[in-house]
């Protein structure tokens, strides 16, 4: 059992936090391809990213997951580590050439730039191996660390202040 300390009550993961990288990219190949092949490629990509993160020193894989959108349907794939394997599901109504892929890699123990490098290398290598070109449309690195300095009362005060404004999103 872990030794109790004040840090244990402080909320989010304060020390190393969780480093992440997410990317939205367009993938294209010359020949049409079916869902079984895309699922296999997506699983291979997830495992390759996880392996790269481990090689760079990640102590734990939070998740590596992707969502593939096509004109014929969607596929998702994910892994929590190479030893656990990868999982995919979804189906396409017909073979396709163009994919839109969102990938999110969240790991602990390495900086976000390392997660980005691990993700991009694996993504490009696996995609190219399967005959796809990759065009990055959007990307973001992030690090989720908790503010260890503020107390629960501080956070409540901040929430109340923020909630006093009367501006609401209108996108529903």
């Amino acid at each position: 059992m872990l030794v109790e300390s004040p840090l244990m009550e402080m909320g989010c993961y304060t020390d190393f936090g969780v480093s992440g990288y997410c990317i939205f990219a367009k993938l294209r190949r010359k020949e049409l391809i079916g869902d079984a092949y895309i699922k296999k490629m997506a699983e291979e990509m997830m495992l390759s990213i996880a392996g790269n993160c481990r090689e760079l020193g990640a102590r734990a894989i939070g998740h590596i997951k992707c969502h593939v959108h096509t004109a014929a349907g969607t596929i998702k794939a994910d892994t929590i580590g190479t030893s656990q394997g990868a999982y995919s599901e979804g189906r396409l109504d017909h073979p396709v050439q163009d994919l839109s892929m969102s990938v999110n890699s969240a790991v602990s123990g390495i900086p976000e730039e390392a997660v980005k490098a691990a993700t991009l290398e694996a993504m490009y290598q696996v995609a190219y191996r399967h005959g796809f070109s990759v065009l990055t449309e959007r990307e973001q690195t992030y690090f989720d660390a908790f503010d260890a300095e503020s107390t629960a009362a501080d956070r409540l005060f901040e929430m109340e202040q923020g909630f006093d404004g009367d501006e609401f999103e209108e996108d529903f």
Partner: protein, 205 residues
Amino acid sequence: MMKVTQIGGFLGCGKTSAMLKLSRAVAEDGKRKVALVVNEIGEIPVDGKIIEESGMQVKDIGGGCICCDVAVQFGKVLVMLYRNFKPDHILVEPTGVAIPHQVKTAAKMGMRDAKVTVGQAIVLFDATRPAELLDMDMLGRLVVNQVKDADILAISKVDAVDDAARQEIAKRLREYNERAEIVYLSSFTGEGIDRLKEIILSGPE
């Protein structure tokens, strides 16, 4: 009255799959109105897109954690859902690093402008990697905090482990949390979904 229930737990524990199963179970073919709030740290959604395909009313909050960074935005989203959609239930998937009691606090901010009750915090724990989650220094501290904060501990992916492993994990979790009900959950086989549905539908915390 709109009831807000969080389905929390560390990254990769199966929150999204559980949310999909639970939302369908709670909605029960249109008997109840259910909305989903999905929180991802990154700004490019993956879980949100997956859940959108369920056909449920979904709001994706990105760019930070609803238990701290974007807590105010979360509270406002609850009020917006109340005003515009009037769901009976909102199921919330926080990020994998969120602390359950802070998510509850943020949800309670919505009570100022909407008729909201906050349900029990359901926290998933991945049965396939207990040592990886609990025995590492800082990561272990985060996961232990999540476990301690749970009102309901759902040991997830139990279809992938044997009975002895289930019992061992339950015993370990009991060391950190003596009061939470423990539910064995498999989004793959459906085990535990009915019990979690009952918990979500039962009275406030």
